[in-house]
Symmetry: C2
């Protein structure tokens, strides 16, 4: 993704925002997770519904997701950031999963796209898309590994 | 999604780009589809692989996808566009499907995110994310309808 126009300071701020989001997710800190989102966020998550409109609807969904897992792990790989003016978009591969309440470990690779807007010098997530590819024949989610060696987690 | 900074001319050009992409997809016109993508596009598609890096890899994938269907239908709903400077991102819901070679019709709702960059006055897609949510219990793709009435197709 061509990055020529991306200001190093904006990139650093966005990277910090995403790192804090990863930290908060692993800590299951709902308030800290939600602090990354704009009030009018529109989210396409991997599970639950086609879309979540607005931070209240998305908070309820996050709360439900966090309740599934005793422990959460989330690694962001191959993060690329493009920013210009007050707009930015990013994409990454995620190795994520956790330990469910019955003690079973579940891990897989997912894909994330995050779009941000800068308001009052603060970058907030206005759109998020998180998914796994599926097999069109069986309709089942594919448990795939990246084909290249990913860069270390952010 | 706050649109205050989006220039009406940029929005019109991006809308035209996406309309042409829809037309080309329904016409199964591979060259015209690929003309929308930047050489270094990074795509997260709903099927096949975790990611497709570069227009050659993505072209091969598109070719395979087009071979599944006798006829393709693609409606873009609720398209929202944000653009600033040379960067833009968009999201939409898609009602899509087609008639497979055995005459069966398959339709469903999907979600799309498209990120573009303007190079030499032309908007090209540098990142695309297309998916369906799945049921975390069964691992199966969910066949969901939007909860709100969608706006007419673009």
């Amino acid at each position: 993704m061509a990055k020529a126009a991306t200001n190093a300071n904006d990139e650093a701020q966005i990277r910090a925002r995403l790192n804090e989001w990863v930290r908060a997710s692993q800590a299951k800190d709902l308030d800290a997770i939600m602090a990354s989102y704009a009030p009018d966020v529109l989210a396409f998550d991997a599970i639950g519904k086609l879309e979540f409109r607005g931070v209240e609807a998305y908070r309820k969904h996050w709360e439900e997701c966090l309740s599934y897992c005793e422990e959460m792990r989330f690694e962001m790989h191959d993060l690329e950031i493009a920013a210009e003016g007050g707009l930015a978009f990013c994409h990454y591969l995620a190795r994520c999963g956790g330990t469910s309440k019955d003690g079973q470990e579940h891990y897989g690779w997912m894909r994330g796209t995050v779009c941000l807007r800068k308001t009052n010098s603060t970058w907030l997530i206005v759109h998020e898309h998180y998914s796994s590819p599926f097999d069109p024949m069986s309709g089942k989610m594919l448990n795939l590994e990246p084909e290249h060696e990913t860069r270390a987690a952010a």
